[in-house]
Symmetry: C2
Subunit: 430 residues, 2 copies
């Protein structure tokens, strides 16, 4: 029995390669010593420490790519978000390269835009392209000046190590408190041509609905117009990353980019229809799996917790209710403690911001150990506590809610709240 009723989120064939799975994308990663430089003035890349995690990533496409983006709605925006949005607006949604650093968010620091622009300029100069063809992103501590020196020194090594199999190096470089790299790719066929779509993601804290994650880069060789890329990305973000909550905090730097090289040589998808649906399904499968990985690697998490809300009058209601349950700190603690407290589920549904009548719901807990009904028609049941404990002691738990108000369904992804979340975030900067 599956821990969730849709754990694969599609049946397209999984392939290796992450952000390099699609034709025409090279990547690399490098340890430049940004954090060391911030702390001591020492420039890590002059004396590289073996085993140090990469902190800067480069992605370069063989051709100019149609490109779509979705960004944080936080009013305090990271400088790289501002610069990337400006670049894509200037050239109508085109990009050829991406540069990303971890260790410093380049936000709330005075000269952020200047530094983000400098990162674009350095990459553009190496490639002989306009600066606005470069996407820039940063993740890490907010409110500190980004040292440009280590990044400057990293440019040559990054270009020298670019490779069609460099996806792992790049995926490592964008990690902060993440404990695992997050990559996923699929292959599919459009107009008789084999296409690939894959991506990498980072984020484990400061993750919340409305651009839930931090950094996501997805590439495809399927030819798609910028307009249809944007439509697919915005649609799929709504039911994947925006249905993810680790801690209720929404980052200043959230960025999700989707680039198409078109090298699969299919006829460009520029309207809705069967080809678009196929492409959208591939994008959903990749983004839903990345979302799942982000939730499972939530800071301090010991369990992946999903809430599937079914029987809602419409999709928006299903999303709102599922997210409200997943976000509740008391539900998250109960999942950590394997405590089948259905009152907390009802409570969180009750304060969900929707007019839908949530007071008559059924609530089940589901995991590979089984399924148990704990609340029926809004009323708590007497149930087998030992069985419930066994179900909730698994490391993937689904809270299944049936509203009996319609046919819409949505999934929200989250995790338990643990001692380690507190520990990790009690002193993040050190």
């Amino acid at each position: 029995m599956k821990a969730t009723n849709n754990a694969n989120y599609g049946d397209l064939e999984y392939i290796e390669g992450g952000v390099c799975a699609a034709k025409g994308f090279k990547a690399s990663g490098y340890y430049s010593g940004i954090k060391a430089y911030m702390q001591t003035g020492a420039d890590g890349n002059e004396s590289p420490v073996p085993g140090k995690k990469n902190d800067i990533a480069l992605l370069v496409a063989d051709v100019v790519c149609n490109t779509a983006g979705v960004y944080t709605s936080n009013k305090v925006k990271g400088a790289p978000v501002i610069v990337t949005k400006r670049n894509l607006a200037a050239n109508g949604g085109k990009a050829k390269a991406v540069i990303v650093n971890s260790g410093n968010a380049n936000t709330c620091n005075g000269d952020g835009e200047e530094k983000a622009q400098a990162m674009c300029d350095m990459v553009a100069e190496k490639l002989g392209i306009a600066s606005d063809m470069v996407i820039v992103a940063s993740t890490g501590v907010i409110g500190q000046v980004l040292p440009i020196e280590p990044i400057k020194k990293a440019i040559d090594p990054l270009f020298n190590s670019l490779s069609y199999t460099g996806n792992l190096e790049a995926a490592t470089a964008i990690m902060t408190t993440d404990t695992v790299k997050k990559e996923y790719a699929v292959k599919f066929t459009v107009g008789g041509k084999e296409c690939s779509l894959g991506g990498m993601a980072k984020g484990s804290g400061m993750i919340h609905p409305n651009m839930a994650t931090t950094l996501n880069f997805i590439t495809t060789d399927c030819a798609v117009s910028t307009e249809m890329l944007q439509k697919a990305l915005s649609d799929v973000v709504k039911v994947t990353y925006n249905c993810l909550s680790v801690d209720g905090d929404q980052s200043t730097n959230d960025t999700c980019m989707l680039m198409s090289s078109g090298l699969a040589e299919n006829n460009e998808i520029n309207s809705e229809g069967e080809d678009y649906d196929t492409f959208r399904a591939a994008l959903y499968q990749v983004m839903a799996n990345l979302t799942r990985m982000l939730a499972k690697d939530g800071e301090g998490a010991t369990k992946l917790v999903t809430c599937v809300c079914n029987g809602a009058p419409d999709l928006d209601t299903a999303i709102i209710v599922a997210k409200s349950v997943i976000r509740s700190p008391l539900v998250k603690c109960a999942m950590y403690g394997a405590d089948a407290n259905c009152g907390r589920i009802m409570c969180a549904m009750g304060y969900a911001e929707t007019d839908c009548d949530v007071t008559k719901a059924d609530v089940y807990y589901i995991s590979e150990a089984g399924k148990i009904l704990v609340c029926e028609n809004g009323l708590g049941l007497k149930f087998d506590e030992d069985k419930a404990k066994e179900i909730l002691s698994c490391d993937e738990i689904e809270i299944y809610v049936e509203l009996h108000q319609g046919k819409a369904e949505a999934t929200a992804w989250g995790c338990d709240l643990t001692y380690d979340y507190v520990k990790i975030n009690g002193d993040y900067r050190s």
Copy 2:
């Protein structure tokens, strides 16, 4: 130096007596064994265990009181909330008694309204009054049937021990995971008559803005019309209990009642003016201090954290920004770890739901160890980390935010997020 710039929230004289401080209010508390009965069927009050915390409280007024209430906005409402609202609506805002149990929220359990009504009936019968003159409230686990038997057996002992100094017994009875009793009272003069106003509160988890706390009972002997009681209560709740967040969860049973016996014999306050202002100031001082106690006793909390937002264009904006900061799990963890991470403050201000420009703010940390500016005009500063650590290591911390957008100010109350919050909530029911 004060840990907060308004720790007393007024300069009226503090007096002992809590919910019995005002003339005409008797209270009692009793251990009826509700939880024991739920777990084993054993009825605690037949064989009382020495040292067991009271779990049922009674408050009886000498006269019929004008009464106002504010309740949870959660759509899943506890049965006692439904019954109390119905009672007050039926008689135009009058009450003579209050019965409250802890250990079971009497919510989502099928026969909740019937049981809540039975609690009112039992009290009304003893007093020879109509049932709608009784206020009922419950707090504890949601989704389990409330055993009425131990409550029935508690009625006589509760009436037999009613006393003008029974406030402590009652304040103990309404506690759940609270570690300390919460009482506060003041005296003041209206129209040459000495008046008193005092109350008791409970709540340490499932506490969040919009009727932030769980149960609050405030009494006064100052004569005030029901209409003006409601106005004052609604106004003051907005800037006190609704500015409190422990965990972002909003309870199904939140209830705040304000009763006036009128026994101070002042001319009844039935319109705005000087007397009303004096009364409102007393109510604010009591409710703000109870709010402060609730925040300080937040589940697992080691520190009281307040956020004062100044320089806002209006009160609503100041409240929204201050609450967003106090609610952020990452800010709460940073406070626990004494980590002066100003980026998290800016981030939480950035996702506050207001159109106000929060990107140019100054941020200070203040405690009895001093005051330090960590963010100026929206930009993180280099500051003395040792000094910041010293300031944040105190047990009462103020985050002071200056928006430079106007003259409105608001305070929000909260606490740090700790290992113990997770521990307490990992297995609340056992």
